[in-house]
Structure formats: C-alpha cells, structure tokens
Symmetry: C2
Subunit: 499 residues, 2 copies
C-alpha cells in the first residue's frame, strides 16, 4: 500500500464513523420512538468520541505526514493532505474530555429546548443553555490556542465558514443592514397590501407531499440516492453522495412552507449528491462551507422557485394537486411569493427581512462571545434587538429566543452562513443566467438540467478543492458582493410594491 | 471511578458501537435508497472492525481483571465479569486476518446466493459456499483451540445457544423426529382436507397493518419504545430496551403471514423491551440465547395467536378490518391455523412439520462439519433428506438447498435454535397456564397482561443472569423436554384431523 493509499484508507474509515453518526441523527429526528432517546444520546456521544479519537490519533498524523512527503507533483494529493491537516488541527484543539461533555450536554439541551419551546418556558432551558455556552466558550478558547483563529468568535465561525471573521461579517452585514432598512421602510410606506390569498387555502398533506416530490425530482434531486420524510424541522442529511436525505414539514392552510421547504432542502441535497464520487470519503470530498451550501438551497428556493418562469411550468401541477386553487394565476401568485414584511420567525421570514433576523442573531452572538450577556437576560435582549431591527417584539419566548434549535446544539457562529448563502445564490444565479442560453425559457419549459449542470460544474464538482471565496470568484468572475442580491430584491420590490 | 464502574463504562461504549451498527442495518433493510449500498457496506464493516478491536483490546481485559478482583461478595458483578470474559474469549479466538477474510467471503457469498437462488443455479454458488465452509471450519477450530467447546460444531452452536452441544441436540431432535413422523403420517392417512378458505381472501395492506398494530399493542408491545415498518423479510432489531423495532411483510390473499409475522416479531421485541433496564449495555443485559429468544416469538405467535381464546377476542377486530371476511368464525378459522402438511419451504411450514425442516438442516450440518460432504453433492443430499423426513423432493434448488440465507452468511449451527424455541415456548406456556388464574379466559377477554407479566418475571428480567437451561428449569420446574410441545401438537391434531 502506498503512503497515499494508506492515508486515504484511514481517512475513509474515519469518514465512515461520521457517516454512521449522521444515520443515527437522521433516525433520531425522523423515526426514533420517544423512549430511544437516552440510549441514542449515549451512542452518539460514543461515536463522536471515537471519531475525535481517530482524528487526533498520532498514527493518523504520521500517515498524513508520509502522504505529504509522497505528494510531490500531485496537486490533488497535496490538497487532500492540506484539508486533512486542517481538520486534524481543529479536532486536536478540542480535548477528548471536552468533546465528550459537549456531546452529552448537547443531547440534553436538545430535549430541554424542545420541551421549553412547547411550554414557552425559557427558565426551564436556561440552565442547560448556560452549560452549552460555557462549553462553547471553552471550545473557542481551545481553538484560538491551537491557532485556528485569533479571536474566539472567529474560531467558531471558521467551523462553518472556513476563513470567515467577525470583522468581515460585521462589515458585510452592516452594509446589508444599511441597504435593507430603507428598502423595508419604503415597502411599509408604499401603502401596498399584498394579497396573499392565492397562497392560502386548504392544502392536504398528501397532495403537498406529492407535488413536492414531483418538483424535487424535476429539479434533479435523485430519489434513488435519497428519500423525503417528515420531521419537526426540515433538514438535509448526507451519508455520502449515494444517500442524501431530505425532510419537510407542512402547513395545511399555506402551501409555501411545504413546497419551498422541499425545494430548499433539495437544493442542499443536490449539492451533496453532486460532490465528486471519486473524492467520496476523502478530505476533499465534502462541501466547502455552509455559506456555499446555503447558496444552493436558496438558489433553487428563491431564484428559481419564486420566479415567474418556474411558475409558468409549475402552475398546472399546482392546479392538479390543489383543485380548489384553480383560479390562481402566475400574476396573482407572484406578489404573495415576494412579500416584504417584518415578522418574528426567521424560518417564515421573507427574502429581504430574513437577513435582519440574521443580523439580530449575529449581534447577540457577538455579545455572548464577548461574555457580555447573562443567559437569563437573553429573552429581553432578543426582544430589544428585534424591536430595533424589525420593529416587532415577540409576545412569547417560543416565538423569540427559543425559536431556533442552533444554540441548543452549541452552533454559535452558524447563523451568518444563511445570509452568506443568500448573497452567493444571487451572484451565482446571475452568472448562470449569463452563461446559459435562455435560462428563463428553459425553466419555464420545466428543463432544469442546464442550470443543474452549470452548478455541478461550477460548484458541486469542486468539493473542497477551492475555498468558498475562490469558488465564488471562479464561478462568477467577481468576489462576493451583496449587490446582486440587493438588485434582485429591488427588482421584485419595484414590481410588487411599486417602489 | 471504581474498577467496576470503569469496566461497565467501557463495556457500555462497546455496546453502543454494536447498537449503532444495528441502527445502520435496520435502516439498510427498511429505509435506505438503492445507491446508498456501497457506502453503507463500508460503514458497517468499519463499525464491525472497531467493535472487534475494542472487544479484544488488552486494556479491556485488564479492566475486566480489575473488576474481577473487586467483585468479592457481589454476585451480580461476578456474573458480569464472567459474561464479559466469555464474549472476549470468543472474539479473541478469531485471528483478525481470519475475521477479515470471513467478512470478505460472506459479502461475496450473499450476493452470489441471491443471484443463484434467482437463477436456480447451485453450481454458480458452490465455489463461494465452499470457501465459506472452509473458513467456518477454520473458525470453529480456532474456537476449539480457545477452549470454547470440545468439538468444532459445538463451538459454532455455542455462538447462538451457549452451552448447547451436537450430542444433546441429536438426542432431542431424534426424539422429536421419532414422534413427529408418525403424527405427520397419521394426519396424511386421516383423509381430512382442511378448508383454508377462511384464511384466504382479499386483505388490503393498510387494513392488515392496522390490525397488526392493534394486536401488537394489545399484547404489550410498546410502540413508544419501538416501531413497525415494512421489509422484504420480517425481523426484530434492538438498539436497547427503549428502542426495539419490528418489521413485517404481507400477502394480499392470505392474512396469516402478515398477522402471525407481526405477533412473532412482537414476541421477540417484548423480550428485548423487557430486558432489565438497570443492566442495559452491560454484559448481562442481553438475551440469553437464540432458543430462548425464539421461544418468546413462537409463544405469542403459536400458543397465543393460534388459540381459540385469542380468536374469541380478535374476531371482531378481524371482521372490522376485513368486512369481506364477516362470515369467518372461530370454529371455521381454527383448522386453517393448524394444518399439518409436508412442504418444501421452511418459513412457510406449519407448527409440526417446521421441525422436520430443522432436523434436515441439522443432519446436513453435522455431516458438513464432519467433513463428510462434497459441496457439489449438497443439492442431492438435501433432496434425499427431505424425501426421507417429509416425503417431498424439491424440483428446483431455489426451493431446496438455496432457500435459506444462513449458510451464505456462515451461520452454521443457527438452525437448531428455531426448534429449541418451539419446545421452550410450549413448556413455558404450560407453566404460565398453571400459574395464572384462568389464563384462557384472560386471553379471550383481550387481557394479555398476566401472561406478559409472567414472562417478564420468569424470562425477560433475567437477561443473561441465568443460562438457557437454568432459565427453563427455574421458570417451569423441569428441564427442557419435547413433551409439552408434542402434547400441544397432539391436541390440535386430534381436533383438526380427528386422530
């Protein structure tokens, strides 16, 4: 066995442990009976511990070093080695005991958060959230000590968006906030009230699911390499390019969360299904960042799914699925897909105000990481921040600080990737529109293949070979900018709100 | 941490690996999309390798030794140590290289068997079956060398039925064969043709599933600690007492495979759900043997499910589920639940002749293990054995020597546990009937709790604290005998066939 084979074979085994844990987590969210929780939490913490042990085993470091020596003029192998080293440094920075405590606390926090949200009782969740935050701070300090980043919050951001920093995000999100505030105000001042009734009605679950399956399949989601199940919150889970599963949830009186949720997750999943097969279970065979990941979901959900051409194709399917909505037209529906209206719940927010929800979380996380927040004050801080940014205050913590699962999972630093995804999606879609002959016409004909092919070639096939910044520049010819996204918003806002 | 805690904590982590592998296998059989196969096979082999590495790690042996020293007057801890040592000796007996070759050959053999069965082509399977047998013999020799048993076949039997030997089984199965042959002949000579039409008709899947769920829940299967899914072959999979899942398959024109399959798997599952919670993930917190396991499935399937009292309760549910069968009565159905008729396929066989299928396999396995069979002669040996025992000869190897998956999996020594289960089920049910006030009346009233409680107390709660033999004697006051089972058969045969 060559040094490269030995390195890649070890890596594949470690990846298999991660994949096994992903299967257990997917099952936990979709299939597991309630009494399985305790044993599942233990099994996941054991797998996480073993994954960590293997990634930080000195034998692996030796194998990587041997492969590095052998890389010579092989740029792919050299890149594999570099990506592996990055992962090993990050994993090694976290002591095994801390990793195990983190896994155990997260498992408890998840259950506690669910209950607290159902009961609208932040006090019940606060103690375990304090534990999660304390361990996350400990983790961030360890990452800084290992040289991952200079500041604790940057070290966390780097886990989701390699290379991103608080300073860069503060600037980008600051710019966006500066542009979005007047836009949202202009919309409010326009006096236009969007008629959302075309999106409302009675939408039976079975018909929603059937339409969602048809649409996901038409976009290019491969059901022979995935499946679609119900869950409390939609998510995508990948066990390798041959098994990438999506979930959904529905609202009976509004088809939008169900359908756009499925298109969103299908976008994530097509990225995973399109990762290069020959790099599967290698350090490079993964998504490059969560921002790029989110760009894939948002592009299919927003740039495609809320467009006129898409609905020219989808409307007959929509009528067939929901005969009671037979009076709905593309023109009558379009405004209801582009409302701009401040609201309390991030996952229900429109394309524009969504990013203000992210700004709110980013501002709160910065303060948490600076040690400037008492956990018990979070509900009040949340309300004040929403008031300032969006002009709304939650009446219940369930619609406020308890709405998201992320902090219960210790995922501080994750939220900004959602907005990065929105920006990248708009910029990629503009580039694809330039590159593809009559993309709107192809979409209106239900032919999504040219777009998926373009994404396969410009995004998916790279895996981690390019950094997120490199990928954006390579695919679009320009560095990441908020301008394509804002232009997209201005165009639809002009049409819908006459501003 | 005390020596005992350290030992049990290590063991729990190893058990979690096994549990994780079980989740992946369950998912593979019930949910996984087709393109997930390759990565899943790799993940499972990685988990199996790690499980083996951990079980044979010298550090574990040291921990067990330290716990043994500390056991002193603690009989439970001493029993934990003994059970753990047994598992470690068995795992350590197989050299890593042999385990790897075995895994590789089994994986090839499974694919080859499926194809050969579909093509009715034994010749295509024979070469890899020879390899499986050769490696199984090598494995058995290694187990004998490690002191697991004195003879190779005994060493294999011991994996499924600890302590069982060929000599004991030869006697028990010989007795059974001597009694069953005249019984089956008397049935054939009776001239009675059972009317099976009450069990036949049109049984929609959804109604079968709904009835099966109702019945399983009524017996005591806890759906909050399990779930019921479809699969190609019914099975039970446990991830701990809080998550024990069952599967089923249906036939549209015969309700029996579906309903009795669910009752069978629910019986297995209630055993796992009833294992002592305080021993979960310890060496003692497991089922004691496959024979005892099968006794739990068979008891609920046959002693309960095919009884008049059960149908006095179940008939209204049956009528509700299948309105077209409203003319079916307990009396008209009863014979169709107790047909005795020689057939070719084990899994479709009746309560009586089933055991002759097992005798056939046992006799063939003994000769294989004695090195007295050329693999190429197996189809002929199979046909001759069936002719002698059951008076039938397969016309195709697919209905003969290729019908079972077991040998392709290297599971020689497994089959006898099925018949042990039948015998134990009858003996336990007699004891429960003696112990419970008016058990038939309770069952006819749909009150299965006294029976389940009796099984919880006399079987489930022991885990591996008692050996299978001890458990039978403890629960029934007598050593295992074929007499209760034969008495049960004679009673129903007398009624159905008037003999």
């Amino acid at each position: 066995m060559t040094a490269a084979d030995s390195f890649l074979s070890k890596w594949a085994d470690i990846a298999a442990l991660g994949s096994a844990a992903a299967v257990l987590s997917w099952d936990q969210e979709t299939k597991m009976p309630s009494k399985g929780q305790a044993a599942r939490g233990h099994a996941l913490s054991v797998l996480a511990g073993m994954h960590h042990d293997q990634l930080t085993d000195p034998g692996l470091a030796d194998t990587i070093a041997a492969a590095a020596d052998a890389a010579g003029g092989d740029p792919t192998l050299a890149a594999q080695v570099e990506a592996a080293r990055r992962d090993v440094v990050r994993a090694s920075a976290i002591p095994g005991d801390l990793a195990r405590r983190m896994a155990e606390v997260k498992s408890r926090a998840l259950g506690s958060w669910q209950q607290a949200k159902a009961d609208a009782d932040f006090g019940a969740f606060a103690p375990v959230l304090s534990e999660v935050i304390a361990l996350t701070l400990e983790q961030a300090d360890a990452l800084v000590d290992a040289g991952i980043a200079e500041k604790p919050y940057d070290a966390l951001l780097d886990a989701y968006e390699p290379g991103a920093t608080e300073a860069q995000l503060a600037e980008l999100l600051g710019d966006l906030r500066a542009e979005l505030s007047p836009l949202v105000k202009a919309v409010a001042d326009s006096g236009v009230m969007v008629d959302e009734s075309p999106a409302r009605g009675a939408f039976p679950d079975a018909a929603q699911l059937s339409l969602g399956r048809t649409v996901a399949g038409a976009l290019g989601y491969d059901f022979d390499a995935g499946r679609l199940d119900a869950s409390a919150h939609p998510f995508t889970s990948s066990f390798g390019p041959g098994d990438v599963r999506i979930t959904w949830r529905s609202e009976r009186d509004d088809f939008r969360p169900g359908l756009f949720g499925i298109m969103h997750e299908a976008g994530h999943a097509m990225y995973e299904q399109g990762l290069p097969g020959d790099l599967a279970r290698t350090p490079l065979g993964e998504a490059v960042s969560l921002g790029i990941h989110e760009s894939q979901s948002r592009l299919w959900e927003n740039q495609v799914g809320r467009s006129r051409p898409f609905w020219e194709w989808a409307l007959p399917l929509f009528h067939e699925a929901f005969p009671e909505s037979s009076a709905v037209t593309v023109d009558s529906l379009f405004p209801a897909l582009h409302t701009i209206k401040p609201s309390l719940i991030r996952v229900e927010a429109d394309e524009a105000t969504y990013n203000l929800h992210i700004v709110a979380r980013f501002e709160i996380e910065r303060r948490i990481m600076a040690g400037a927040v008492d956990v018990n004050d979070l509900p009040e801080l949340w309300s004040d921040t929403y008031d300032e940014l969006l002009g709304v205050r939650p009446t219940s913590v369930s619609d406020g600080v308890l709405q998201d699962i992320h902090w219960a999972m210790g995922a501080i630093g994750y939220f900004p990737t959602y907005t990065l995804g929105n920006l990248v999606a708009a910029q990629l879609f503009d580039a694809a529109t330039d590159a593809i002959d009559d993309l709107p016409g192809r979409i209106a004909a239900g032919d999504f293949e040219p777009l998926l092919d373009w994404l396969r070639k410009n995004v998916h096939q790279h895996g981690r070979r390019l950094s997120a910044d490199e990928l954006v520049e390579h695919a679009t010819g320009a560095p990441l900018s908020s301008e394509p996204f804002l232009a997209h918003l201005r165009t639809t806002a002009r049409e819908v709100y006459d501003i």
